[in-house]
Symmetry: D2
Subunit: 342 residues, 4 copies
């Protein structure tokens, strides 16, 4: 009964089984094994693109390594003021890029906007006295639980490319976004101008597995060295690759995300209609921001629900996150608990 | 039938079971879960020391993060010319330390010596023109498969401490060393002057799990930040902690290592006595360096054995590594294959 | 007739003479010469404090090296949103600190405030997920030409020290500040809680010379190594030291600054009273922000005055900077030009 | 009477005069002044090549910045085991390259050899487990006072380019080399395969001025940013540019070097023929390595000569360096002192 984050859940049974199966026999280390090759190939098929594909085990390493091949040390990256990159990765981007700077774009509803890009860009006068803006990073779904539509991604990417910037997507919850958009994964990535995607698995059923999908293959060699140098090339890589392989088998990634999204919707509707709780917005994916009264928070905790009372909220709105395995009954009892205690 | 490395094996069943069990229920992320706390406590008990304990998933990250809290960016680290740190981690130490330098000590039998330390130190005149020697790193067992006795570790550590250097032990195969020394793990670490240990699990039955044991707790806060910043703090940490917990339950780590060591001994005896193959030395642990003729290498490969023909050897001696699950029959058939083909 | 910046002027004759005199005879390199020792001692006398003193040749290196000994790579530095550190040094702070982050404090009149500190601090919850706030940097005089009084410096420093942060002062125009405050240089530095001062010379009569004054001597060894490693330890150091020595002889630094300040005042009065030009504020030191009409800017350029039309302004206020050798007649003719063309 | 190093001398009168003259009037800062443009153009003329040219004030910054645009952070640079880069710059190369590694090539007479390159290259197997060899650095004249002929430079450069490495020349004493080779400066640089040259001035008559000459202009933008970020872009750049301008006017750089070389030759002949002192070799340029007896060293110091007794020697050979302004009479009295005291 944990609503803090989708990383408080465990792993999908299908993925755990794949890890157990991967244990059979020997395999050459450091990714030189057939399972890794297969999982890489299947990611390329999934995205319908001859991308370079790399597996790592944490979202922070995926993001920081991705950006390390997209900006020089004297560069800067435009992103949302509350981007996970800025607020929750202890400066990993600065570490992996050797000191590039994270700069803010203005937003609406937690989403960067083409106008926000234009404003940031207009304030920038390229010269050696300032850091050189080199990349843009968008989080999909956003840290506010909102969703970029394809047109907005395209519009920001176009502006970036016109100015020789490259575009990164932090897709820690990419599956929830694709489920919500009901589009092909290519549509909101490379076809919309994304150069590098952090394709998250850890929050949606993996134990710890992320794929970095580099649509511009020229950046691949650099990435391979930087991953090893960062200590993120696993000797027994097959145990990471097995997760990704199972994750995209039979649309598990999408089905998991659809369930989580549906549970968030159920939670939002319940809180709003049954309890009159104000929402930041109707959740498109699996994150709900709800203005739950303090008394009800006390009650929820008394009833055994785990919530983040003091972190990750937006103003008076507390963040609630559903997961691939959230149970409808638990959602309903959460709503009931709020109703009872407010 | 893979003799390339102990990282070509899978995981111990006990450890895989622990991972599966860890999947039950929710757990707070990033190591704030009971299983992580328990595993940390048990490492402290194992070493009989109130150390700071951190889990990561790769040996490279363990080593590089450990050294990053032991040397300033303008520092230098004395180690063996063939230390894994130098030869096989793509500059991870330079990356995590922000540019410290790895300097060589002279060796005998693949082991750094007190005399080698003295020579290196005597050539060093501290001034701002040179990098500042700040730490020593010893690999136990060594990259040549040899074993430091307690006295040598103590003797090098004493010299280091007299000069205000701290001492790191790369214990990727620490279990094999303790099994070979038949000592308490404290005896060859903090009691012998080791300040920080990389306690390896991945090569001895874990999927991907290492413990960094910091006997000098003053370095712990730095380590915690640097681990997160490096992308090595797992959100679902319990899946790493569960491995360590199982690893040290019922002496699994030692029993695994004892088996691997025994298999290496069986291999060495077989090669030497049955085939007359020259050995670099009688293996104290789980690595054999054997001068196998080229014809026999061809034959081994034809018979389905995987070997590193071109990497990780020492001169004419090919490296052969046994693991926790090497089967005596496979060892014997390897020897037989050599006998047949040489 | 250059009003762009005080770095568009040359050097004081007294300082140039000192450089010429320093050329006599041999001297041991890298600062091991008597002139360097003397200049360091005299800085200590000037500040009435047994500080560690280091000379460098650029303001950017002074600031970045100073902060590199005050924050870890995973740290953050609170400063003004328009701090020179952020806006005009190409990420030198990120480079020298290995990736620490510059965070904003709210301001009034271009000055950080104790309240701004409190707000920034209250939004910060120390954990490994965020960068660790480690230092504060104040620019004196500020980038807006305004002046911190001693009480404000003390008040911000007190807050910083209560939270174990250290405090840096970017004193690129420190002389202008001391001249304006008419205080002892100790009063607004170490006696008011400053831990490290970048004491600027290059903008006030030196060719290229800055002193980093470290009131907390424990940081000195680190600084010495980092200066050398950054390529800022001059072999013929005496030519830098000679500048500093002359700079503080017979109060040259203060007299130069007093003149520059007086010329700025003359310029401000002239623009406001003769031309009705709106000022951002009455200038306490040597920087004037004046809302000069576009037509008058055209006229100034036609009359041969060099101005920064597009950089370094604040809103509609153009920045005008006077220097140690600005001539009253040139000031007056500038005012006259504005009057004629507006 | 200082024979420690050519950086213990002052500046050429012509250069000091140029600095004084550069003080007239205003100039736009950060190199946007006419004198800087002219000096850059004249360097291009001197080398008969449309190179990118950057001025800095120290040799360490010239070398480290040069290499920072020639190797990625996960790269390695082949150089001489005693290269100044390794032994005397406190890890500046590691700092500016963000952790690239310096690897040794075998040498003869203090010079790297084509064979040494081949050996180093043959031991290197490119993979992400090792750092990636990316560049070669040669010191001309070498740290042993010896001289690369054009053919050797060409031969090593050819090997480097065949393997996609770029080639740097540390020309701290480049003038002494050109004087000794009696060739055009292009012949031993870009025409012989050098990609980037650190063209030293500080040891040969400048106060503190070096030119980085980038024959491959594609690297120029990066260099400009990195110089600024390193704090090496001077606000009053004209005082550095004036030095370079005077340095190459009327062949001052060559005439200074020829004198220094002649004085070294006079010293070597005197020591060998008059005193029977053994020399490491007959000096081609301005560095003499001489096996002076300890008693004579005591005597030299008693007679007022400054020598490096404990640093920078090679075995029993003490290093003696002559400069652009060494006086024949002082050379002779040095020899006489040795003769008297040995």
């Amino acid at each position: 009964m944990n609503f803090c984050s989708d990383n408080a859940t465990g792993a999908s049974p299908e993925i755990l089984d794949a890890v157990v199966r991967a244990n059979e026999g020997h395999a050459m280390p450091y990714g030189a094994d057939p399972l890794t090759r297969r999982a890489e190939d299947r990611i390329r098929e999934l995205f319908d693109c001859d991308a370079a594909v790399f597996f790592v085990a944490t979202g922070t390493s995926a993001n920081a390594l991705a950006l390390s091949v997209m900006t020089p040390p004297y560069g800067a990256i435009l992103c949302h003021p509350h981007a996970h990159l800025i607020s929750a990765e202890c400066g990993a981007v600065e570490f992996y890029t050797h000191g590039a700077r994270l700069l803010h774009m203005d937003d609406v509803d937690g989403k960067c906007t083409p106008t926000g890009f234009d404003t940031a860009w207009s304030q920038y006068g390229p010269s050696v006295h300032d850091v050189k803006i080199s990349a843009v990073s968008l989080t999909q779904i956003t840290e506010a639980g909102t969703l970029y539509d394809i047109e907005t991604v395209q519009s920001i990417s176009d502006r970036a490319h016109e100015n020789d910037l490259s575009v990164h997507m932090d897709g820690a919850r990419f599956a929830n976004a694709v489920a919500a958009l009901n589009c092909h994964p290519a549509d909101v990535t490379w076809k919309a101008g994304i150069d590098v995607l952090s394709f998250g698995g850890s929050k949606n059923g993996c134990l710890g597995a992320e794929a970095v999908v580099i649509f511009n293959k020229a950046l691949a060699e650099q990435f391979a060295y930087r991953r090893k140098r960062g200590g993120h090339l696993f000797s027994k890589m097959r145990f990471v690759s097995a997760q990704i392989d199972a994750y995209i088998t039979n649309d598990l990634w999408l089905n998991n995300a659809r369930h989580a999204n549906a549970m968030a919707s159920r939670l939002a509707v319940g809180l709003h209609e049954n309890c009159g709780v104000e929402l930041l917005c109707q959740p498109p994916a699996n994150m709900v921001y709800a203005a739950i009264p303090e008394s009800a928070k006390d009650g929820l905790e008394a009833d055994g629900f785990q919530i983040y009372r003091d972190v990750d909220g937006i103003g008076q709105f507390m963040r609630l996150v559903t997961a691939f395995n959230s149970e409808p009954a638990v959602i309903d009892s959460f709503v009931e608990s709020v109703a009872r205690h407010q």
